[in-house]
């Protein structure tokens, strides 16, 4: 029996919207990137806290949105059959597990080490000696205003 390799030629499905859709996606990606950069600039010099965390969260959401637009429109995954979409997307659940499990593990390692290893705790708070020429412009806490 011959193995059939025929498939329904629906190359046309990639073309709906045509170049118009391509440019629309380009503008969306550009705007998302600019918003990301604006958030990045806003974050410069901001102390750690819930606001900084919220901005980082927003940047990650924007990043996922960009990924969606690239995969869905530039790579046309959005107009493929659901069978194909699922076989690509579902295995990525492992990455979700990986991110949650490993980042939790990393944080737990840090917390435990700081709690039980006093030497580690003290040495992690020591300021580094400024290297002779390259760190001269950095202002130290309590330095005289010039």
């Amino acid at each position: 029996m011959e193995h059939s390799t025929t498939y329904v030629d629906n190359a046309g499905h990639d073309n709906h919207g045509g170049t118009k859709e391509i440019w629309r996606t380009f503008w969306i990606l550009l705007v998302l990137t600019l918003v990301e950069l604006a958030l990045g600039f806003w974050m410069i010099g901001m102390p750690d806290g819930s606001l900084r965390l919220a901005i980082k969260g927003s940047i990650i959401i924007l990043m996922m949105a960009k990924a969606f637009y690239i995969v869905s429109y530039f790579m046309h995954l959005g107009s493929e059959l659901k069978n194909l979409i699922m076989t690509i997307i579902v295995p990525l659940i492992f990455l979700v597990w990986g991110i949650v499990a490993f980042l939790y593990e990393g944080n737990s390692y840090k917390t435990n080490r700081l709690q039980y290893d006093k030497y580690q705790k003290e040495s992690s708070q020591l300021k580094a000696e400024p290297k002779a020429e390259e760190k001269t412009e950095e202002k130290k806490p309590g330095a005289l205003e010039q």
């Binding site: 380009f26 690239i70 020591l126």
Partner: protein, 226 residues
């Protein structure tokens, strides 16, 4: 869907046809890209894990603050990397335009957009080469990290190790993509696809190129923004 061959109640799993309705090569390209996603995912998760387990980390805005032609003390965080990101997005657009032209079998258009895509890829590689060179001159390399943590404490070499490994791996993908696109350009110009009667190969190369752009979205966010 403008095609009539596909209706909602087509029995995709009854045999006789591909349940994915794509040609073999394209399906395999998707699976390759998925496996590559896991490679990059593992890299970035490793980076995140080490960063979460560290008591301090260098401030990317202090590290990546220069651009070509800048003076020693230039302080322009995010500027150069924005340009790199922009170059890659634009090259992704020209690639998708090449794929689009391929569907309409316009040989000249395909060649034109492939050339623009190749130029974009080379421009990106040039930017990355400049940045690596600049950081190397500042003393950063695998196993050597001149940058202090953002709170002024001594840092480990984790920062530079991850930066050079992951951006290097991505840069290598860009390089491969440029080579693939050059091969596609040659095949277009000598008329291979006209003989075949379709430009589906461009589509597969396009998938790879968009994936490179996609990875940069993640690398850019994880290393430069967060």
């Amino acid at each position: 869907m403008e095609t009539t061959a596909i209706s909602a109640n087509t029995k995709w799993w009854n045999g006789g046809k591909s349940p994915f309705n794509v040609e073999y090569g394209k399906l395999m390209m998707w699976y390759f890209l998925m496996s590559d996603t896991f490679t990059f995912g593992a890299f970035l998760i490793a980076y995140g894990t080490v960063r979460f387990s560290s008591t301090g980390w260098p401030d990317p805005n202090e590290v990546f603050r220069s651009y070509p032609g800048a003076s020693e003390g230039a302080h322009a965080p995010l500027v150069f990397v924005s340009i790199m990101t922009f170059i890659l997005i634009v090259s992704s657009v020209t690639m998708v335009l090449a794929v689009h032209a391929g569907h309409e079998r316009k040989k000249k258009e395909v060649a034109k957009y492939l050339i623009w895509t190749i130029i974009g890829g080379l421009a990106f590689l040039g930017c990355q080469a400049w940045e690596w060179n600049h950081l190397h001159h500042e003393g950063a390399w695998w196993g050597s990290n001149p940058f202090l943590n953002s709170d002024g404490t001594a840092s480990t070499t984790n920062f530079t190790n991850f930066f050079f490994t992951i951006t290097g791996f991505h840069g290598f993908h860009v390089f491969s993509g440029v080579i693939i696109n050059i091969v596609m350009l040659i095949m277009t110009l000598v008329g291979t696809f006209d003989k075949k009667g379709h430009y589906l190969m461009i589509e597969k190369a396009g998938l790879y190129w968009h994936f490179v752009d996609l990875v940069w979205v993640f690398v850019f966010t994880c290393f430069y923004l967060l």
